[in-house]
């Protein structure tokens, strides 16, 4: 049995993730590195426990709060199931916030939200922004604090699909085996960002060219609101809260084919914005 690691910190929940297998332990440490206590908060007390145990038949058993949940032959798949479980618990437990289907990064206290339907390149563009110097807040599930309208960090591993493989090749980050891959932001040299207001909402769209275009706040709000998870506050509260966020944010439609070039232009745009 490996020593119990510190609980993994989710936005409103601390989860103890354990294993009796050294290989799985290393995988977990790698993939969940962003969720380790960063010393900026009071030490967390785990409210829940997740275990992966190697069984006699060579399978990896996933146990959620003492209840066996699944068995997997591949330890990476078992680790992926843990990440999936943690993400589900974030959706279920995060309070006083609007959760948006979006990636998010921070640059010098200014937040960039990358929000779009699946397949539009959120993760790829988020990774490109990290590779170009932004700090990481989250991928796929952005947490907007209802009181402050700030982005709260939830530095889960990036969930990279096959369509994002080329970028990681280009950045020299190896992706082993078959996807999807869980990549900690640290692999891109990114640190975890601090809570910050949303300054730019990027609405990416895969294209055959790279083009940024400003959207009206009303149009941008509608696009952003479509990506809000129907959880937490009421639908009315979510919409009005995102409306308040939109009052001070800019919205950019990003048609892209080269994620790094688009990320550079977005960061330049942020630099030159008043």
């Amino acid at each position: 049995m490996t020593p119990a690691p510190a609980p993994r910190r989710l936005p409103d929940l601390a989860v103890d993730v354990r294993t009796d297998d050294d290989h799985v332990g290393r995988l977990l440490d790698d993939v969940l590195a962003g969720l380790q206590d960063d010393g900026r908060h009071e030490p967390a007390t785990a409210a829940e426990q997740v275990r992966i145990d190697l069984r006699d038949d060579g399978s990896y058993e996933l146990t959620l709060d003492d209840s066996p949940a699944a068995r997997h032959a591949d330890p990476r798949v078992a680790v992926g199931a843990v990440v999936e479980h943690l993400n589900r618990r974030v959706l279920e437990t995060t309070r006083d916030a609007v959760l948006v289907h979006a990636g998010a990064v921070e640059l010098e206290g200014r937040g960039i939200l990358v929000s779009a339907p699946s397949g539009s390149g959120k993760t790829t563009l988020t990774a490109a922004l990290l590779a170009r110097g932004a700090a990481y807040l989250t991928d796929e599930t952005a947490v907007v604090d209802a009181a402050t309208l700030q982005l709260r960090p939830y530095p889960k591993p990036l969930s990279v699909k096959a369509s994002g493989h080329r970028l990681f090749d280009e950045l020299g980050v190896p992706l082993q085996g078959t996807g999807p891959w869980l990549v900690p932001a640290g692999a891109l040299g990114a640190r975890t960002g601090a809570p910050c207001p949303v300054e730019v909402v990027v609405l990416p769209r895969r294209s055959d060219h790279d083009h940024l275009e400003s959207l009206s706040r009303a149009q941008g709000l509608v696009e952003l609101a479509k990506q809000a998870f129907p959880l937490g506050p009421t639908a009315r509260e979510r919409f009005l809260l995102l409306g308040r966020l939109a009052e001070s944010a800019r919205f950019v439609r990003a048609d892209w084919t080269d994620p790094l070039a688009t990320a550079e232009r977005l960061l330049e745009d942020l630099d030159t914005a008043p």
Partner: protein
Amino acid sequence: MTPESADGPPRRSSSADWVVLDGQAAIHDRDGDHYHVLDTTATAVWLRLDGTAGLDEIAVGLAHDFGADLDRVRADTAHFVEGLRTRGLLEPTRREPAAPTWSRAPGSVWRDTARGTLVLADEPEPVLLRGGAVPLWALLDRPRPVELLASVLSEAAGVDVAEVEPGVRATLADLEGRGLVART
């Protein structure tokens, strides 16, 4: 049919949440989870759709604010509002049904006497109205709602209207039963 004719002044649907940003309304209709964005002109109409103003009043206001031709604004507004109704973004503002009014039956014949008001009716004997029924009868020279009748009588008697109104209703019901008053 115009957007107003059936249902009174148009009013935004209570299922529509909306925010105005830089003069444009972003709308989320919780019924069906639909989103809409309005341009600045349409937003100016949207903001007036609070159920208090009819289409014509809205058009007059818009024509004034935008310095535009009233007939053109009237037509555009009607078209736009009809579109909102089609998309389920308006809810009907039902006009309150008019309160019933009461008056003496046509052809009534009566005479004031020392004992009260004597009214001839299609009954074997004339009906003698006494007490509070006398001033009530005097007020039934034209159609009036119960509330108004009770209010006037309570004022004259110096008592609370709530004390008077039940008696007024009962008397009117009795007179109606005798065919002496008509309800419209």
